[in-house]
């Protein structure tokens, strides 16, 4: 089983992976708290990017409303914790089915009624917007004035209630990234992953070789939604406050898909590399601007936009396939 996991991995690729993983494991002992906070953000985007990539990169279904699943996960776990004192671990068990149900409803409506391409993307935005306005009026969890988790200055960490110092959150999100990565690799090499790729490439041809495309597209949406909801749980307990206007905003949906797009849609390393590049670059720029004494809201986003423009024009398949070719790791695309 373990050996099968590494099958087909090139030796120097594996070495690279080990070094990267070791560096990430050791990071909290090396970097200061500012860098640690940035690493947490990077890993957060790597994780949601990986989850989104299942839907778009593997199964070819463009979702522009993934903030919906983040928000549902965040609100479900936070509400259970604040209102009933339930551990976020139990909250996760609730958040996953909630988000999966939402994904299943959207997927069912779209795929049964043959809403595809751009129309599908807009349908996903519509549902996220629905949720945003809905939660704005959902006063049980604070409505538009926000929902807050109790905060204190923690010196110790309690993993069961996820109340504690950033280091705990760092290792939590790192674990999530590793699990998501391994899961995606297993999926990609399995029957379901191969069927997803076939659907992404040509749905009619996929049907002609016996693939029940409706069913497999549903699997992709539901799995992606469930995984994304866990990012929401993390988000809620890390940031301790939730505003519908922010959590469900379309800008969040777009932010969380940038990493896999820049890194390389449909690749395993794309979301991770993309998250490092994007957050790394934007923080660097932020630091430079601060050093110059310039504090302009929006400058960071303009930079995001320019990066995105550059990548999509110069490296249409993303940065990872290009890097992989340079490293001789066998980039998939010519």
């Amino acid at each position: 089983m373990i050996a099968a996991l590494f099958e087909g991995v090139l030796r120097h690729g594996l070495a690279l992976l080990v070094v990267l993983f070791a560096a990430l494991l050791a990071a909290p002992y090396i970097v200061n708290s500012y860098l640690l906070a940035i690493l947490i953000i990077i890993l957060y985007y790597a994780y949601v990017g990986q989850a989104w990539n299942i839907m778009m990169g593997f199964a070819g279904q463009l979702s522009l409303g993934h903030a919906l699943y983040v928000g549902l996960g965040a609100y479900t776990a936070a509400a259970l914790f604040v209102k009933f004192g339930l551990s976020p671990w139990i909250g996760m068990l609730a958040a996953i089915p909630v988000a999966m149900t939402a994904g299943a409803i959207i997927g069912f409506l779209a795929f049964r009624f043959r809403v595809g391409g751009v129309y599908f993307a807009i349908l996903t935005i519509a549902f996220a917007e629905f949720a945003r306005v809905g939660f704005d009026h959902f006063t049980w969890v604070g409505g538009s004035s926000g929902f807050f988790l109790p905060v204190a200055n923690y010196t110790t960490s309690d993993l069961w209630t996820l109340r504690g110092r950033p280091v705990m959150f760092y290792y939590l999100i790192l674990t999530m990234v590793v699990i998501a990565f391994v899961l995606c690799r297993i999926l990609l090499r399995s029957r379901i992953g191969t069927f997803w790729l076939a659907i992404r490439e040509d749905e009619e041809a996929a049907r002609a070789i016996g693939i029940d495309t409706f069913r497999y597209k549903m699997y992709a949406v539901v799995l992606s939604a469930g995984m994304t909801s866990l990012a929401g749980v993390f988000f809620a307990f890390y940031y301790n406050n939730l505003f519908p206007e922010q959590v469900f905003n379309i800008a969040r949906s777009i932010e969380l898909i940038l990493a896999p797009i820049i890194g390389g849609i449909g690749t395993l390393f794309g979301p991770i590399l993309g998250a490092f590049l994007l957050t790394g670059l934007s923080e660097t720029m932020h630091a430079i601007l601060q050093g110059l004494g310039v504090d302009v809201p929006g400058a960071k986003q303009v930079f995001y936009g320019l990066c995105l423009l550059f990548v999509v024009m110069a490296l249409p398949d993303g940065v990872w396939p290009w890097v992989a070719r340079k490293l001789g790791l066998g980039g998939r695309k010519p």
Partner: protein, 242 residues
């Protein structure tokens, strides 16, 4: 012997236009059967009814003893009918091997089993050497064979070929013919082909059915069919005149 595929009175209309008019045909197990006819004769419509793209307005289609008309294309494939497309559509960004794997996974859960089946088929179609190339980088004859390989990997009892020879040069056509003959001889695969290229039909088919304006005008062994006056008049005559 009972027929593997039987089409009984299949009829399809498009906006009142009769595309296929009560066609009757039986394909026996192990047979290579060809449907020919001039453009617009209804060949592709008949093909699409068998493959599950269209539901017949009237008539029945049975395969291996059970009704398949009205099933979706993927259900039809899972019953044991593989198909190719007239305009080839392999999965472009996947490698040759991955393309065939997608088919091989249909009746196999394990990657190793699917890989084994994929390699088997790639050998049969003479594509094994090219297994790591992207499908989009292949030449047209290679892409055509890849489509056949992908369909074969789903372990069909019947293979539907939609003008698979179109666009091939004579030498490439002969190579395809040889591959299908070998598959038929060695694995007992039943083949139903819709074809324009008479050279291939004469070389491959054991029985031929001629469609004209949606209706069957002749049926029999190729040598007899090409001598049939009705066929010569409606199809070969027209072709010869060009």
């Amino acid at each position: 012997m009972t027929a593997l595929l039987s089409v009984t009175g299949a009829t399809k209309r498009f906006r009142g236009l009769l595309a296929v008019d009560s066609v009757l045909l039986d394909v026996q197990p192990g047979e290579i059967f060809a449907v020919i006819g001039p453009n617009g004769a209804g060949k592709t419509t008949l093909f699409n009814m068998i493959a599950g793209i269209y539901r017949p307005d009237a008539g029945e289609i049975s395969f291996a003893g059970s009704r398949i008309d009205g099933l979706s294309p993927d259900q039809v494939c899972r019953r044991g009918i593989g198909r190719t497309f007239q305009i080839v559509r392999p999965f472009p960004a996947l490698t040759v091997e991955e393309n065939v794997m997608a088919g091989a996974f249909l009746h196999r859960k394990e990657r190793s089993a699917a890989l084994q089946r994929a390699h088997e088929v790639l050998w049969q179609l003479d594509l094994f050497e090219k297994r790591d190339q992207l499908a989009s980088s292949l030449t047209l004859p290679d892409r055509k064979r890849l489509e056949v390989a992908r369909a074969l990997a789903t372990d069909p009892k019947l293979l539907l070929l939609d003008e698979v020879m179109a666009g091939l040069r004579p030498t490439e056509t002969d190579r395809m013919v040889e591959i299908f003959r070998k598959l038929n001889r060695e694995t007992g695969l039943t083949i139903l082909l819709i074809e324009h290229v008479m050279r291939a039909v004469m070389a491959l088919a054991q029985r031929v059915l001629v469609l004209h304006h949606g209706a069957v005008i002749a049926q029999g062994v190729p040598a007899d069919v090409v001598r049939d006056p009705a066929v010569i008049h409606s199809y070969l005559g027209a072709e010869a005149a060009v």
